[in-house]
Symmetry: D2
Subunit: 335 residues, 4 copies
């Protein structure tokens, strides 16, 4: 049984606690938050969980095996460093850190101390993404042509980060997981309509090896809520509409075939193929429950997390580079 | 009555002819094409229209007032120059020319000779775009925040131009018409998956004055056909789904309000407003019929066409710059 | 403050309790259920609420002003009679009773004792139905032509009632509320595919005065979940899609105009009118919270509930007649 | 080569002619219509087709093998009788006749003279219905539970028949083809809002053997256009949305399993099964072209048409019975 502490019980922390309480592999031991009313909230729901206003108590508690860090991003590095130095595994909210340098230090620290970092890229544990990953891995869609993701809605404007840091970590984590390669460079554009230097609309292109191109559109100013991702391959093509209650993932038996001809003028002939479409059944389990179980597996069986520190670091690197590219009006940032 | 000649009767020319025949303000006089079978096709349908294998016959015919040019793009400049020099108005298929320098020469030639150029940006004459333009002009949506357009489907791959030159002229013409400003710079990315140097997926950001950002996604590799455009403003927001048979244009009474507070930390407070949505009734008339009527108006009443040579030139400039930006991995191209 | 008791804390009772606890006009005093584990569940959540295995304790408690009855339908009459005889107001789950005779006795008892019966037709308190009712009342849609409702999905098969008794109370209550007339007769058909005498697919036509026709399709065997209601009027037409997250109610400015001509052969000429469509903003408040507030209003201000005993009785009468009509293969049952 | 004559060239006749002209198995020989302008229209399009104001010329022309009858329904019986008596095959627009007695006489006449009757139930020849028929035939959906079809829109009001005779022939023909049994009885309801005795809204239940129930909703007063059919079976379930451009037919791997238990109280236990959904690729060929080819096959190879006189007769019988049932407020009409 893994003895778990939770640092930060604002919005996301209570979800971690609820799942830890329900999961027999965890003992939900204690939590910390600087706001007393949040601790009272947890105490009322779970009288047996110890609470503390100071996260250092959790770090100093030698009975704690693992810590979930659910505090604001700018505090991640300091807290995570202390937790890792205390020899505890971490589950850390996304994005992992505010800079890629920090992310790199954390993962080196974890490696040195033989500890696990699981970055809470919750989407990787949804039924939809697991099904898509499985489909890609099986070879069913062939080689990937492109990845395109749209995540737009009205608000919520953040006051300290732009829309890329706020919304794109989801898309970048999924992209990184599905494309399974190291991105080469970033070109991003965006616009800030409030005049506070924080873009509310942004477009990020990511170039990958093997001629794969990826694009992410994130936006706080859209009248409609769209969460749609396409992955097009040489054999089949996938559309994932996360808003659809019953047809989240569609797999199209569509593609092109390129025929090289002797013809001088038209040297490539493209033929189109269209077959059936199917919607695979998607498991309904809560993503965070699956993720917590995976965290327990990683610790107990010494497995590398699906969303390990490297994945967290790659995501932060792309966020950082996107921001830099936007500030320089689309300058290509090589990674 | 305007005596009309048509040069090029491949795919689009016959539509011009059909509309000219039905429009009492035109006399559909003659057409030319280098392919005899196309001329035979027209003769069978319209026995009274003169046909010629040589477009110069139309140019030399002093009874012809105006000429529609529906030939491949690379021939536009030569033919249009000759037509304008012969003192005839032109209706020219989009894109206007293969280079912006050519477009500029044509519009100067037209100005000098006091002739009209109407570039066949057909979408500007659809009920949907006319309704959106009217809505923007009335002030109903306030100032524009962004314009975002997605035009994707599977194929048809072109063998001589990339997906931007093939599909984006529609979006660029609409964007130019609705934003009604001179674009400042372009950042574009894309990818060519056939290895022939012609991108099949592309993402184009266009920066406009007044902090307006525009983005166009064009794609020949998408399993699903999407034609969706958003225009978000300070007061209302518009979504135009050209695939929807009955709800093409939706106008959302949604927006944000920014409140400047004295607070040092959170210096802007954003509030969200959500009201009714409505779908205005869209006139069903054929866009090309409206366009032909407008062409007649321009000639007879000496009006500047909605899609005049300047509009055609701006569109070509953006196409050209997009291609250049793509080739340089997102380098910003200033206009 | 209304002192409330709840009898039955299976599925729906806890929702009543949660809303009573949150509503300052109620004091959530005690609850009863014959199953000890349900009482334990409530005690764990709300330690201050008294629990009892015997509902008679609630009836005998003279401090209780009103009782919510959330037990199986076959127990409604006995419990409700006792509660009313004890001089307490009731909020009773739908359908009100298992027979219309019982419903009638209850409402007579309530009238005699000057007590309120609010039948828990929750849909009447949703934002969508309140908006539709308001639209009809304002005269905006003109006179009603027809009401058509489809409520279909896969399962859940009930073991004691057919699909009409299970699903149609919602539609019938809404229909009764919107049409606001006394139904004249019923014709219903259905089919039982399990061979247990309980129909799983049913179609109910209800004839109303003023030439209004209503139809309800309920079904436990549909692969897709549909909740769609249309109300068509002489001036406008409404479509309510309860599955749509953002466009639940659409109001179409569509209609027909009938012109009587002198012509002998075609003596009526029908013209069609099509204008804008709009989606009114729908309030998001929880229907049950609105309903509880209304219950408090009815008691405190002596108002007749929107879903009073008469409405509950009319719904039961239509359910009863539908079942009878189905058993006789569509025989018209006059009310 | 089949020498074809066409009687009636109003709306549908020209489509028959166009398809006959394009089909090498037919010689499109002559057509007749009482309106000279319709004959002129055909002559202009197809100068080689003989035209006549009197259909008897076609009947008397011994070189004609087959005749397509595209005149108003009330003339079908007289014309079809004469054509069959003249020894010619017929393709006849739907509904076959105005009464079932007439339909029966025609099919007997055809049998006696060894001639083919193909009733123009065009939907049977669409890719969607052919795919659904094939799926049912293969056993993939198991035994049919129910068939439900909705065909509603605003207008066009007919001045001589009600909405059942106008719209339902499509649904009834498809239902008859897919269920492939003789209907047992009809219960129908409807309402006439113009006061001319012609219902504009109608609901038709058809009882079939093997506990199959079918229902059709046809409506001229709906603000939205719906064409949706469900066929639910013991193994799988089909939804056909004819308005959907790209996902017309969806096949759901969903169903219920009934477990008989020893339990006294709950004597049936129902379990639900949900698997993948798929959209089979639907052939795009024009239904009428497929139908004309089938007509040629039937004549040349002495095959019974898919939509033969019996099918036409069954459809008319159901139309007739529906009308009768509506007039008697849902009285069950046994066939």
């Amino acid at each position: 049984m893994i003895n778990l502490g939770v640092i930060g019980v604002g919005y996301w922390g209570p979800n971690i606690i609820r799942n830890a309480v329900l999961n027999k592999r965890f003992k939900m031991s204690c939590c910390a938050d600087s706001k007393p009313e949040r601790l009272d909230y947890i105490s009322a729901l779970y009288p047996t969980i110890k609470t503390s206003p100071n996260y250092k108590e959790i770090i100093d508690d030698s009975s704690i095996d693992a810590v979930a860090i659910c505090t604001p991003v700018f505090t991640h590095f300091e807290i995570a460093s202390a937790v890792l130095q205390a020899g505890k595994h971490i589950l850390i909210e996304k994005p992992m850190t505010g800079t890629s340098a920090e992310a790199q230090q954390l993962l080196e620290l974890a490696e040195k101390n033989k500890l696990k970092i699981l970055v809470d890229h919750t989407f990787l544990f949804t039924g939809a993404v697991r099904k898509i990953k499985e489909t890609i891995k099986s070879g069913e869609i062939g080689d990937i042509y492109y990845f395109d993701s749209v995540r737009v809605n009205l608000g919520l404007f953040q006051h300290d980060v732009n829309v890329v840091w706020d919304l794109a970590p989801h898309d970048i984590a999924v992209m990184d997981h599905l494309i399974d390669r190291k991105a080469e460079s970033i070109v991003a554009t965006g616009s800030d309509h409030l005049g506070n230097g924080l873009e509310d609309v942004a477009f990020v292109t990511v170039f990958y090896p093997d001629n794969i191109i990826a694009h992410i559109h994130v936006n706080w100013l859209s009248p409609v809520k769209i969460r749609q991702t396409q992955i097009s391959g040489t054999k089949k093509m996938i559309v994932w509409d996360d808003n659809s209650p019953s047809e989240k993932v569609k797999i199209y038996d569509k593609g092109i075939e390129v025929i090289q001809t002797a013809d001088q003028v038209y040297n490539t002939l493209v033929q189109y193929r269209t077959g059936d479409m199917y919607c695979p059944k998607i498991p309904q389990s809560e993503a965070l429950a699956v993720e917590m179980d995976h965290f327990a597996d990683c610790i107990e069986k010494n497995i590398t997390p699906i969303s390990d520190g490297y994945s967290g670091w790659r995501v932060v690197q792309i966020l950082e580079s996107s921001e830099k590219s936007i500030k320089h009006r689309g300058r290509e940032i090589r990674l």
